[in-house]
């Protein structure tokens, strides 16, 4: 009964608020093989499309979690419902993480079938980069109550990986392309902290 209600809520929310974001993420997914050659790549070259393009899906899916209720009047209406608003936002972010896993996982399998030397590490590394990029946007949007500031933060972070790669240290997104993987675990931890921090700030601000 409860799970049926939850499924109904998720379906309705995705249909009304999130289809465009999923479609944009799919667009990024289909664009990647056009930008990169993805056949017969070794471990290092395989990391490039997985780290440079696919993590942008994190920005697209995780940043706009608070977007549908950015207007205060709409937020008040949603708040008046039985289901907690923050629970709804949490479900949205979980759905985004699930979709990111599916998209990236599917792409890794596709690369494997094209003869690339990809492993579960590539999947985890790409997902970690997507999560940190998305959670940076999510956190900025949560704190500023402005989804455009969220997108902007995420894009700035992404850009800084091209211009300040030595200064970013554990926050560097493209470490797998340089044969390293250690940074990824820090990315996941920081991403989780940013998501938790984002919700905590929203609760404190009573947004």
């Amino acid at each position: 009964m409860v799970s049926g209600c939850l499924a109904k809520m998720v379906f309705s929310d995705v249909r009304h608020n999130y289809v465009i974001h999923y479609l944009t993420a799919v667009g990024i997914l289909f664009l990647t093989p056009l930008l990169f050659g993805i056949s017969q790549l070794d471990s290092i070259l395989s990391a490039q499309p997985l780290e440079i393009i696919l993590p942008l899906m994190g920005t697209v899916l995780m940043t706009p979690v608070f977007f549908p209720e950015q207007n205060e009047n709409i937020r008040d209406v949603v708040r008046s419902k039985k289901t907690s608003y923050h629970l709804l936002c949490f479900i949205r972010i979980m759905c985004s993480v699930l979709m990111l896993s599916l998209f990236i996982g599917g792409f890794v399998i596709y690369m494997k079938s094209a003869g690339c030397n990809v492993t579960a590490k590539h999947f985890a590394g790409s997902l970690a980069s997507a999560l940190i990029l998305g959670s940076a946007g999510f956190f900025a949007a949560a704190v500023s109550d402005n989804v455009i500031a969220g997108y902007m933060t995420s894009v700035i972070y992404y850009m800084s990986n091209f211009t300040m790669k030595d200064k970013l240290r554990v926050l560097y997104l493209f470490s797998m392309s340089h044969g390293r993987f250690e940074e990824k675990k820090y990315l996941v931890i920081i991403a989780a902290a940013l998501v938790a921090g984002g919700f905590a700030v929203r609760k404190l601000m009573r947004k």
Binding site: R15, I20, L35, D42, Q48, P64, N73, N146, A149, M152
Partner: protein, 419 residues
Amino acid sequence: MLFAKECRKISGSLVFWIYCIIIALMFLTQYFSDCTEREYPPSPGRSAGDYDFKPSGDHDTIIEGTVNSLINDYYSNKYICYPLGFYKAVHLKDKDQEKIEAYITEITGLDHDKLAEIKNNCEEYYVSDGVHEYKEYKAEHIDVDTDNISYDRFREIISDIDSILGGGSDYAPESAEYNFSMIPMTYEDALEEYNELFEKDGIAGAYARLFSDYLGIVLGIMPVFVAIAIAAADRRSRMDQLIFSRSISSFRLVFTRYAALITMMFIPVLTEIIASVIQLLVIYNGESVAVEKMLGIPVFWLLPNLMVSAALGMLLTEMFSGGTAIVVQFAVWFMSIMRGGTVLSGNIRKFTLVCRHNTLYNRAQFMLHKNDFIFNRTFYFIASLAAVAVTAFVFEMKRGGRFNGIRLFGKDGILRRKA
């Protein structure tokens, strides 16, 4: 009055202040910290390769270098390309390989049998490409009689080869002219280039190009966020209907807003230009610095970047949504940056949004593209004004109730979003 009001509105926007911080950070961490000391002349007595390299522009060298590289790639049927700055190994089908062979024959005069014979005498080695090992070939250097072919025809051929490969190869005419004609600079060359900094660039010209190169990267994308935030602010605060009912004309309103956006967003850039002038006057104390170049070049270079990014942001937000504007502008910016690949100086074409010249030197390379540069900046200047005019037209339609944003799936299309 309205202009001042709009400026006040922008100055109260969080996104605008994030923009200011990013512009300041880019300036301080990239340009300002790079230019804290003056340039000194090269020291004599070093071997030629120690100074730098320069494109010779010699047609024979370019043809010979290109053909020798092409023959090796043709034998291995593996052509490395960077269509958008990223690695792509292209393996051609037999039909396309035949076209490449025909072009090699046309340039070198070597027929199919002769080419097969050279292939048999090639040095063969195996390279690991992904999970497979490929056989590659390294032919002996082939001398090309460049009298057999005109340089214009050669350019046509390599341009076609680049198209067959899908673009981004070493055989694109501009890439070939750059990659296959590099020669080491002598001390005299290096000294001449150094002297150009003072004699032709008046010091400030070279620094102005470097300044514009760095700032151009962020000004190709950041203004779109400010433009969207301001364009969407009316809807967010439910003021759009109230504004629709005012007597002011749509063109006046939209153009005033645009002028306010450009003015406010250019203030941090102007501040940094002034800081750069002061820095130059300090580090080149006693030298003649052409200050007007430090003021003129960045304005001509950077203003179109700012204008087109803001105009596209306004137009797409008005027609679709803020999210669409971000995706489109990001794609345009990303492709412009990546298409240049590793060429960071003289990367200026007719429609390059983010022009690159990441050095104080290599003036000749920049001047080679001077006409393209002037066309490019003028084009983006006019295009951005045209985009604002279209925005005003869309705004007018919305005002009259004849248009309410594009809905992708019918009247209540689920894909339609509001910022």
